[in-house]
Every structure is written in C-alpha cells, then in structure tokens.
Symmetry: none
Subunit: 200 residues, 4 copies
DNA sequence: CATGAATGAGTCTTCATTCAT
DNA sequence: TATGAATGAAGACTCATTCAT
C-alpha cells in the first residue's frame, strides 16, 4: 500500500494553492485545477476527495500554527515580563509564523470565502479585541468606555491587517522579517500613545 | 406610466443592493433578485442589460463621490492650510461621503468579487500611499526610505480599513459621524507621531 | 404570474412517471427524462426544483390516499360491524384506492429506492401486522405465540403483495375491481381458516 | 502460492456478497469492495473481469440449485405420490435450498437491480404459475377460468414471497427450518382450501 | 500477480442570458 | 413592457474500467 505518486500530489497542491490565491476558493474550479495541473478532473479525486479537502490540506498546519501563536501571545504573565521583552517575543513569534506560512495564511484570510472557515479572520480579530479589553480592564483604564469599543476594535483590525499587508506584499523572507519587527515595535508604541491620549 | 416604470427600476436596484450586500455579487443570482423584487427574471433584462450593469448602476455615483473626495483631499495646498483646518476639512468631507454612500461604498469594497472593479479598494490605497509619499518627499522627510515604503503603505491601509470598519458597523449616522471625527483626529495625530519617531 | 405551460409540465410528469416505473427512481436520470420529454435538461428545473420533487409531486396524493385508507380500515369498531360488512367495505375502499392511484402506488412501492420513502411499503406491512396482532390479542387468540409472529407477518405481507400484484398486472379498471373483490373475500376467508387451524 | 490466491478470491467474494446484500448491486461500488477487501481496485480485475461477473460468480450455484429444486418439484408424478408425501418432500427440498443458499437467494431476489438477472424472481413466479395451471388443468379443475388467472398468479407469488420472507428474517437455520415446514404445510392446505372454494 | 495512475462518461444541479409572444 | 419558456456552459462529484509498470 504505497502512497500515491508524491510528485503529482505536490503538483496538485501547488496548482490549487496558486489558483486559490489568485481567484479565491470558490472561483477556482476543480476543472481549472485539473487542467492547469495537466491531469484529468476525475484523477484529481484519486488524490483528494473534494475541493475543500485540498483547501484543508493546504491550510491545516497554518491553522494550528496561528492558534499556537495566539495562545502564546495571550498567555503571557504581564507581571513577569516587561514591555520590551514582550515586544521582542511577539516579533520573533510572528516572524516565524508569517515567513513559514506566508501563502497558507493568505489562503485562510483572503481566499476562504465558501469554506467553512470563511470568517476565521474576523474571529481572530474579535479574540484579539477581547484580549485587549481584558488587559485594559485589569489596568483600570477601561471603565465607561466599554460600551463603545470601536477604537479597541480598530486597534485589533489594524494589527491583523497590518501584519497581513506585510505578508501580501510577498517579498523576501528578510524583507518580511524586517518589516514585522518595525511594525510590531511601532504598533506597540502607537498603542501606548493611543492609551495615553484617548483612554486615560 | 413613467412613474410606474421608475418604481420598478428603483425596486430592482434596492433589492439587488440588499442581496449584493448580504451575499456578495457572485452569490446573489439574478433569479433571487427577480424573485425578491416580485418581477420576472426576463423583465430584469428590460431594465438592466446584465447583472454587472445593475452593480455598475448601484455604485456609479459612489465611485464619482469617492474620486471627488480623494481629489479634494489630495489637491489642498499645504502652504495655505494648517493641520487643524485640514483635519476638520477631512473629517467633514469623509463624514459626508461615508454617511451618504454607506452601503454603496461597502458594495465597492466588500461585495465586488467577480466584478471588474474587484480591486478598486487596493487601487485607492495605492493612490493614497502615492500621495503620502509625495507629500513627505516635498517636506524632505522621505529620502532613502523610498525603496522600502511598507510603512507608508500600512498607513494608507490603516486609513482606509479604519474608515471602512466604521461604516461596516452600520449604526446610526450620528454614531458614524462621531467615530469618523475621533478617528480622523486620532489618525492624523498618530500619523505625526509616527513621522516624528520613525522617519525623521 | 401565470403558471408554467401546463402542457409541458404534464409532459414531464408523464415522462418521468413512465421512466420511474420502468427503471426506478435512481436509474431514471434527469438527462433521460429531459431527452424523452424533448426538452433541455436545464429547462426541467424551471418546472421542478429537483428529481425528488418530481417524484414527490407524482406520489403525494397517493400517499395521502393510502394513509386515509389505512386509517379507515384500522379504525372500524369490531362490535358494530360484522365480517361481511367489513369485507364489503374493505373491498370498496381498496378498489377505489388501487384503481385511482394504480401507477402512483407502484411508484411508491416498487420504484422508490433512493427516495426518502424507500421503506414505506415495509412500514405499511409492519403497521398492518401490528394491527392484526392487536385484534387477535383482543380476541384472546394470540397468547404465547407472540414471540414468534412470523405467520402474522406473512399474512400482512400476503395482503400487501397480493393487492400490489393485482395492480402490477395493470389491466383494465374493471379487471382490477373484480380481482380485488375476489381477493379480499378470499383473503379474509383464508385468514379465518388460518386462525382456526393454527392459532386456536 | 495457489492457496494465497484462492484466499484473496474468497475474500473478494465474501466482501462483495456482504456489500451487495447491504446496499444492492448498483450502490455497492467496486471501490468499496476493494477497500473493504483490503486490496487494490485494479487487482479486483485480475480476479473478476467486471462487477457483474462477481455477482454472477456469487449467484451461479444458487441459480442451479433453484432450477434443480423447481424441476424436482415440477416433475413429480401426481399419480405416484400422495399429498402428504409431496408436502414432506417439498418441505425438505426447500429447507435444504433456503438454508444452504440463504444469502445467495436474497442476492438474486432482492439485490439484483442493475443486473441482467433483475427479473429472475418474476420469471420463477411465472413458471410456478404455469405449473399450477397445468396441474389444475390435468385435474379438470381449471376450465374457463384460464384467461383470468390472477388467483393462480397470486398463489405463486404467495409461495415465493412467503418463503423469501422467512429467509429475509435471517434467524438461525433451525428457525428457518421450522418455519418453512409450517409454512409449506399451511400453504398447501390453504391452497386446497382455495381450490375447494373458488375453483371447483 | 499487484498496484497506482488515469480517464470518459455519467450523476444532479445552478446560472446568466436569450427568445418568442 | 412583461413574461414564461428555453438553453448551453459550467459547477462538484462518482464510477466502472483500463493501462503501464
């Protein structure tokens, strides 16, 4: 019971990845994938049982990696770590995530319409927002502003979209690394600036 | 007679707008539009020659309005206007745009996949970025950084996505107005802060 | 809002009925129905939203009629009606059912594999069996035999299959009527004979 | 080597039998058979040239056995055997057939849709009916009733369906034996009863 | 013998659009 | 104008079967 010809499987995955990235999950049809991969439509189904299973296969490890990163960033103990350390840690862990899973993350965030994960990005933004609110509440900064948390929402959106924009530009790994470092630093400093000015 | 016809046309447009907003351009089918509008599918084609032409009709004036706003914001003479005035002007003009064309703008930015305008948002972001770079160059701030303009790109994205998030929340006009004012103020101040710290 | 061309709808229904009867629900494909009806496959869907909906349309009234007949036969009060009257009543009501819904009943019993009603015949047989057992229990005939009720099951099967065989032969209405009368009479008398010999 | 090969063949046959019985000939796919048998789909074709050939192989001996039983039951000389002996003989020979080929017979009668033998049950019923008519004609019982032989048809159906119901219940061999004995006895007696009442 | 690879014809269904009346 | 009727191309997916190694 040997596995199916690895070369073709990789070819399919690569082709599907490109098409999903280019046109999105829905618009990229199985016929197109087959044609571009140079095999018959039915042969596709010898390698993957459905279109979504190709997508799942392409994104599975990126999902887990994202979850791990989110957990690691949310679980830090603010008493045992200072801002500088936290900034450095965040940079490092995000660099790793976004260089390793560049395209896969874009598949998840930008090309997933029609998938059962199509609102994952929004869910992540919501979780980040929740986390921010919790932290600010702990620090006694967020009192009456709770009801109208648009700014905190915006800050969460900014973070996610900022990181994604870096990934979308799709340049070299080192380019990504540099910009993530700068971005995280800027972001955290801007974050403090914002708290100073608008919440306190 | 003419009034009646106009009514039907408006009915189609209203129905299509709702469906496009709810499901996106592609997923909203002509059958659904016809059914929901209470007319026959074929009669749709007496009013609009294609699905895309409905979309075009719905978004045309919003496009022009966006273009006008962009031009008005880009064309100010920095020698004749101070930051405060510019902030106030921007707020005003964006408020007008985003309250008047709330749904149409969302049609353009969030529901246009499948349309020939599906990358208009990205184009706008690029133009804003270009503008920022020009201004900073004029002020002799941006010299060697030109090649690596991600931060300026990010600032443009932040602006657009921030404003869109406000519109997406879809609350009352006054809520939108308040948040746009706050947002623009915060945004311009953060912008200056950023320039201080990272570019000078 | 006029209805769709009745002629074509009837043509589709007739064609589908014939094909379902000839090949069964599953094996009769929408392509075949369309081809045989002389219309395009997609036009089929202007008249019926799915293959099953054609089937449902064809069988709906027969279902209700069967249920009504079963209820009327099960609900008689044995104290107020003698065997002869009951025989006559049963004959009459079954004649009506089986002449009026000849083909539709065969659709339900013989051609429904793949449908959500594919075990309706078995369900009916079970209900008849239950009814027989209840009646025999009331009459203190069925005591220790309960555990192994195969014969009662067989009697229920015989009834249903006997009636269906009459219908399957698909001759004239009068032929069906005559045979149902004879059959019911024979069946009820055989039934008593069986009770005499094997249960008492 | 040969033993091993034979094992695989038997494995395929056993697996296919189970799947045909469970889902019917059509719905049981070659893929499923291969998967469940633990071999490759293509290797299936080294043992059997087609899906139908598996079915044929599985049912071949049951076919012959059925034919033999039919012949033995049809060929008795009514002058040399009395009813009791005939009853006993029939019971015995049917018991043997239906216990030995329980599943194979169900394959033929209940799971053959899509096969070229899908109407074998009906053919058998017809032959039994013919036989009955011949016998009754010999005994000068059936004169003018010939044209309208539904009752005799029904009697043939009853016999076949009754026996099949016993087999379908799929309990122990002894359960089957007991019920076949009872059934045949009951059947022949009911048969005579029917002739008394309706034909003479 | 065994298998992974491959496929063409088929399944039901959807949809934007056209046409005749 | 209004509409019912019609369709071709496309969608995902299945399946029995063949073939080269």
């Amino acid at each position: 019971m040997q596995v199916l010809k690895e070369e073709i499987k990789l070819n399919i995955l690569q082709t599907a990845k490109e098409l999903f990235l280019e046109k999105g999950f829905k618009a990229a049809s199985m016929s197109m994938i087959a044609r571009k991969a140079g095999i018959s439509k039915s042969n596709l189904y010898n390698y993957f049982s459905s279109k979504e299973s190709i997508y799942d296969y392409l994104t599975k490890s990126a999902y887990t990696a994202i979850e791990d990163v989110l957990n690691s960033l949310f679980d830090h103990d603010p008493d045992n770590i200072n801002l500088e350390e936290y900034t450095a840690l965040s940079s490092k862990v995000l660099c790793m995530l976004l260089t390793k899973y560049r395209n896969e993350i874009l598949l998840i965030t930008d090309c997933s319409s029609g998938t059962r994960h199509e609102s994952y990005k929004e869910a992540v933004i919501d979780r980040i927002q929740e986390h921010f609110m919790m932290e600010l509440t702990k620090l006694n900064i967020l009192n009456d502003h709770k009801k109208d948390c648009f700014f905190i929402h915006y800050i969460a959106v900014s973070l996610v979209e900022g990181l994604l924009e870096i990934v979308r530009h799709n340049k070299s790994d080192s380019w990504i690394k540099n910009n993530i470092q700068l971005f995280v630093e800027y972001y955290i400093s801007g974050h403090s600036h914002f708290i100073e000015r608008y919440l306190k």
